[in-house]
Symmetry: C2
């Protein structure tokens, strides 16, 4: 039985980095059927929409999506529904990809690349789990209108709805507690229960679900405090989980703490185990086409895909070991290069991983 | 004509640190009329409410409020409307304190206390301006209900409303551009225009207001990117301004970057120039009553009060110079102490500032 992968390079450096991940996958001698589709700005150029019907259909029929990145300044003037990032929101929604895994890992050889002092990040290994299909991202109603109350009744205003239902919170809480069981059995649930009804409810439901996981330690933390503690003592966290909006902010903050965001993969899963796998960094239009982007986050995303959606943990291990080996051998793309290591291109980094496998 | 100050020590270390700020104010030989009131948990204990009528009335009749901090774990079980932090939300709302100033400043002598490498924070001087009376903090409707749509129709859900009206955005944008004119003429407006209607509107209105300030450079940045850039290169910011919710998160992140949150004051102003002045740190119940808390953030808040609400810039300068002098002389409370400096108590730090004035 073959496993179907939708390959979506997208925009900017997307094509370059995904190409290397595909080469690595091809080495593994697994029955992988890969089909490529346009997404984001590239799809808009070709079909007038960032997430064309055909791309969505391919995604739905696949076991997993290997995604590059979308976006470019040149699409900033388009109407919102036509902008590249709508593709990613559309895929999350259509496939119900509610569980986003964002590891923030500091590789031994790259510790010095962090903004933080080495002792604060050496060995850092946090797993951020972000709810990805609820919250203020998708809540209705939203739009513009004339205010009827508030500080300026009669004025034009815009509004959005934050919301979480009990089953939405329950399912992501289960994901977090189960992930913690495979790690250090410590979960930090991040909320803003002191201000928001939505997150008081979040806290209540998480506390309830926690009763099924007495072996896992649960801590509640306000989002403003979490933003501080990540800077102050990131290693105190193990699994940090939160809603879509707070997760957007904290997962990026945590990624940047490592100093090597070009190394960080991500996975977004639905209830059936289908997943979208993409690097944590963006499309970097400024360096697109130059062959200097770091393909490792995408290659590691392919490893996560093998582990989470395709049930190939050995193959995932092989890729991850190969990445550690190329780092140990001193190969570095420009973003992680430092004195005494060997600067390589996107392609050469792919070659090194291929050779190590 | 005397100036009236409402003194609200609050909970935890609040009483200790405010006492030192009051001593400093008393030195200045200004016609200051100070009246003390209970707030937060202390007010709840005495009057059954964190913001009693009498406290609110005093606040409204005063030119400025000197505020310590509120909160303690022991009130966590109270109904939300009775919890200490409702006092601060209530004061912001009742007085219309829409403009929150949160400087993130790294003092030369304390650079090493930062989590970040010294070269990234040495000389750091960012001003974060947070809108403080709008957004999802106060938007109606909010509450719990049965979902009629979304992923789980029929399930229990909680919800909140994010909103900003045009005049609300305009007035905070003016505050930010005017503040930038007195600094380095660079403003970063932080939004999430790629996802939220509220912040697409925010971006549109800010762009419009900017036309009145052609001498100030305006940059728009997504909140997730701002959370990263603060870690990566904080000195690239000058004035960063944003809404209430994002500002809550980013101002705390930025404060922690300095490594010396015990040094950071804040001001919250309304359209009439009335203001609430408080340290950026919290009530720290764990060290309350021990006489070891750092009073400098509160003393510097008193300086901001003299400058912003009481039109006494020379007096503000005197306090700020005195604080710099005690740092230069090597006095340190426990939170900022390091080898080779002199550890002092809250009271001794107050003495040192008093002596320096
Ligand atoms: C592009 C944008 C809509 C998206 C988000 O906000 O979720 C991105 O920031 C991310 O984190 O994947
Ligand atoms: C206590 C809480 C309601 C408050 C807020 O969220 O605004 C605090 O975090 C702050 O930043 O002053």
């Amino acid at each position: 039985m073959s496993m179907k992968i939708a390959v979506m390079p997208g925009d900017g450096i997307g094509t370059e980095i995904v190409a290397e991940a595909v080469r690595v996958l091809n080495l593994l001698e697994l029955p992988l059927e890969m089909e490529t589709a346009l997404v984001g700005g590239a799809a808009y150029e070709a079909h007038g929409h960032p997430l064309p019907e055909s791309t969505l259909k391919l995604a739905q029929e696949s076991d997993a999506i290997l995604f590059g990145a979308v976006g470019d300044w040149k699409y900033d003037k388009l109407d919102r529904p036509l902008r590249p990032e709508q593709a990613i929101l559309g895929l999350r929604k259509a496939l119900g990809l509610f569980a986003n895994f964002r590891p923030a890992l500091c590789y031994e050889q790259l510790t010095h690349a962090s903004s933080l002092k080495p002792e604060l990040v050496a060995g850092l290994d946090i797993l951020i789990i972000r709810e990805l299909t609820g919250d203020i991202y998708f809540g209705q109603p939203r739009g513009r209108r004339i205010a009827t109350d508030g500080h300026f009744p009669g004025a034009e205003e815009a509004f959005d709805t934050m919301r979480y239902s009990k089953p939405e919170i329950e399912r992501i809480a289960h994901v977090a507690f189960q992930a913690a069981r495979k790690r250090n059995k410590k979960v930090t649930s991040v909320d803003k229960a002191n201000v928001l009804e939505t997150f008081q409810f979040w806290k209540d439901v998480v506390t309830e679900v926690h009763k099924e996981y007495p072996d896992v330690e649960l801590e509640h933390m306000y989002v403003d405090n979490a933003a501080m503690q990540l800077v102050k003592a990131p290693k105190k966290f193990d699994v940090l989980f939160t809603g879509n909006m707070f997760g957007d902010i904290l997962s990026d903050e945590a990624a940047m703490l490592t100093g090597s965001i070009g190394m960080l993969p991500s996975a977004s899963l639905n209830a059936k185990g289908q997943g979208l796998y993409e690097p944590s960094h963006g499309s970097a239009p400024d360096i697109a086409g130059k062959g200097i982007a770091n393909p490792l986050a995408t290659i590691l995303s392919a490893a996560m895909m093998l582990r989470f959606s395709l049930q190939q943990p050995e193959a995932a291990d092989r890729i991850e070991s190969a990445v550690r080996a190329v780092l140990a051998a001193g190969y570095r793309t420009a973003d992680i290069w430092s004195e005494g290591t060997q600067k390589v291109s996107t392609r050469e980094m792919g070659d090194a991983v291929v050779a190590a496998i």
